[in-house]
């Protein structure tokens, strides 16, 4: 499409304003993490790395971080298995109820978190508690996996639709068993979609607070819960800031990676 130079310039400016809008609040957080004033007086007059040190030493943060990682890995694993299976079923097969299932799988992520949280909480307390399974890390994983399935599902489905069945049929024609076809033909084709879906699922689980509030037991505290409990506490607030800035920096690489992996086919440009 031929845009006049002025139009291109206008779009560019609008885009830059949009990006600035995105990054100004984040810069405030990062700047504040170096703010020597404990009560965030703005503008900062003194700078210090004290909060970063304290954040790295704080046991509450480390435990919460570990809990979040565990929950994220568990949820991602379940989401990978179930999302991939569902994706294959819905894309490669046709059956009664396929569109309903398609609709059903996006519900956990589209319905407000509080609805999912309340529903799961009342199920867990009425069904699992009498069995002796109390709310805890396990129930958190169950809750997170539920809305992570759709993320993997969408990524893998998009990839499956794009790759088509011709290669797999050729493989079967040449005498490969189901497993061989899967391992040598299908899996390499969807592998990067799996990784992208897994990264996104992990990110969703890592940042989730609402469903977690309803499914976590007393001894369980994920990182978002820790942040929520300490955000406004007088002595902990600055540490929260430092933790937030730290998370931003740590996860640059995975985000770039996820984009590379899922972006490679949408970057087709001309291919519809």
């Amino acid at each position: 499409m031929n845009l006049s130079a002025r139009a291109r310039w206008a779009v560019g400016v609008a885009a830059v304003i949009g990006l600035a809008f995105i990054y100004i609040p984040l810069s405030v957080v990062v700047i504040n993490s170096f703010n020597a004033s404990q009560v965030f007086s703005w503008p900062p007059t003194e700078f210090t790395t004290m909060w970063w040190q304290k954040a790295l030493e704080n046991t509450g943060v480390r435990e919460a971080l570990w809990t979040s990682v565990q929950a994220g890995l568990g949820a991602t694993l379940i989401a990978l298995l179930l999302g991939t299976a569902l994706s294959f079923a819905l894309v490669r097969y046709d059956f009664f109820g396929r569109s309903t299932l398609n609709f059903l799988v996006v519900l956990p992520i589209s319905l407000p978190g509080i609805v999912t949280g309340i529903a799961l909480n009342s199920s867990f307390t009425t069904v699992l508690q009498p069995l002796g399974i109390n709310l805890g890390l396990f129930t958190v994983v169950l809750g997170h996996a539920t809305f992570c399935i759709v993320v993997v599902f969408n990524n893998v489905s998009a990839r499956l639709r794009r790759t088509g069945t011709s290669l797999e049929e050729a493989s079967a024609d040449l005498g490969a068993s189901l497993w061989q076809t899967f391992w040598f033909v299908t899996f390499p084709a969807v592998r990067s979609a799996l990784v992208a879906g897994a990264l996104l699922a992990f990110a969703l689980s890592f940042d989730e607070i609402v469903v977690t509030t309803f499914t976590a037991g007393p001894g369980v505290e994920t990182l978002p819960q820790w942040i929520f409990n300490n955000l406004f506490r007088p002595n902990q607030g600055p540490i929260v800031n430092a933790v937030a800035a730290l998370l931003l920096l740590i996860f640059i690489a995975p985000v770039w990676l996820a984009q590379r992996l899922s972006g490679s086919e949408t970057h087709a440009g001309g291919r519809v």
Partner: protein, 397 residues
């Protein structure tokens, strides 16, 4: 096709099981307030179970994370081996809900939660013989309406205090002496007023109306008939227009006062202490001429506590003279333990807070659950807590 159909039927059947499971669990008769559920009482305290999960008011179980010098949990953990997991409840409602989940061993309940927990079968009677420090707790806190039934104690008193009127000394002058500063429509601080975000705050409005509109005939701010209730609700709806923000978590109030987005409103003394400690603004808390609502807190043990020994040890620990003094000074309340007055850092602390003054204590309108059967004995013409809750949602709009 058929397989797929069968699969879906199976899923439907299985989810029906979940639904039926939800249906079929038993509940105690909800309208029976005369009979207290029979919950067994402990007869001895054994070794600690290694863990303790408690629901507390902010500031009641400090472990050094708020202020490194303020810590009475670590010493408890060291001496009993019970690792303490603290869950802060912001309002009594939250605490009742948390206790009903069955996940916690104990709670520091105010008077508007205690009876609900007792009659709901969520807490067990306390064997006070197993709590040595109970003996020297102030007598006027024992065997009261809110912490005992039929002469049986259901908890160990913790401390008591009033909801004070806190104000920013720089922005608010002259110093307020009446709740009218936050209730009357011509308040000069409109837009920067705060109030406690809980239905129980309606009692504060009623308490103000007790003096401001004596024709209403309010005697007990928790016993309000239709007319009195409506007057209180109208006052609060009017106040809402002047509210900057409500606070439920103590951190909300500390943060909003720190930024001066609120400059006056109801508060706990600990909030004032924390704000002054931050150093951004200076505040003061006063009990105005109309009096104040307040709370008398009781440590209660859950009916099916997973760690009952740890909970009994905790109850004894928290009302021991040194610890009760520490808590009381940190929070800014009167300690229940009479011997604590010897251990406070500020030697006039007990006098300032009237800790041993039963008459002064009797003047505070402690948080109590409103019932349809009026608490002041007028009959079944009062609004119950469900009505209060409903009204509070309408007030906030």
């Amino acid at each position: 096709m058929a397989t797929k159909q069968m699969l879906k039927l199976a899923a439907l059947a299985a989810s029906s099981v979940l639904v039926i499971a939800g249906c079929s669990s038993n509940t105690a008769d909800p309208t029976d307030t005369s009979g207290v559920p029979n919950v067994p009482m402990a007869t001895e305290v054994g070794d600690g179970e290694g863990e303790l999960n408690i629901v507390v008011w902010a500031g009641y179980a400090e472990d050094g994370s708020t202020d490194p010098a303020v810590d009475w949990v670590s010493a408890f953990e060291d001496s009993t081996g019970c690792q303490v997991n603290v869950k802060i409840g912001n309002t009594s409602d939250e605490m009742v809900t948390l206790m009903k989940s069955g996940q916690y061993d104990g709670v520091s309940a105010s008077g508007d939660a205690t009876l609900r927990l007792i009659y709901g079968g969520d807490v067990a009677p306390v064997n006070t013989d197993l709590v040595p420090n109970y003996a020297t707790v102030a007598d006027f806190l024992k065997d009261r309406d809110w912490n005992s039934v039929g002469g049986q104690m259901y908890g160990v008193p913790h401390g008591w205090g009033a909801n004070v009127l806190m104000y920013n000394t720089a922005e608010v002058s002259p110093a307020p002496t009446s709740w009218s500063a936050v209730f009357e429509a011509d308040s000069p601080y409109a837009g920067k007023i705060t109030a406690y975000d809980s239905p129980i705050y309606i009692a504060d409005a009623a308490l103000y109306l007790k003096s401001a509109q004596p024709d209403l005939g309010i005697t007990d701010p928790y016993a309000l008939d239709e007319t009195q209730f409506q007057a209180a609700v109208d006052l609060l709806k009017q106040q809402k227009e002047m509210i900057g923000s409500y606070w439920a978590a103590y951190t909300d109030e500390v943060a909003s006062f720190g930024q001066a987005s609120n400059v006056i409103g109801t508060a706990w003394q600990i909030n004032a202490n924390l704000i002054n400690g931050e150093g951004k603004v200076a505040v003061e808390g006063v009990v105005p001429s109309e009096g104040a609502t307040g709370w008398s807190d009781t440590w209660m043990i859950a009916a099916n506590a997973a760690h009952p020994n740890c909970m009994y040890k905790w109850m004894d620990w928290i009302v021991s003279p040194e610890v009760n003094a520490q808590v009381a000074e940190w929070f800014g309340e009167a300690p229940a333990q009479t011997k604590s007055c010897d251990f406070t850092v500020d030697k006039t602390f007990c006098d300032t807070y009237h800790a041993l003054d039963a008459d002064y204590a009797a003047q505070i309108s402690y948080w109590t659950t409103p019932l349809a059967e009026c608490l002041d004995g007028r009959g079944a013409i009062c609004k119950d807590y469900a009505a209060w809750t409903q009204a509070w949602t309408e007030i906030k709009g």
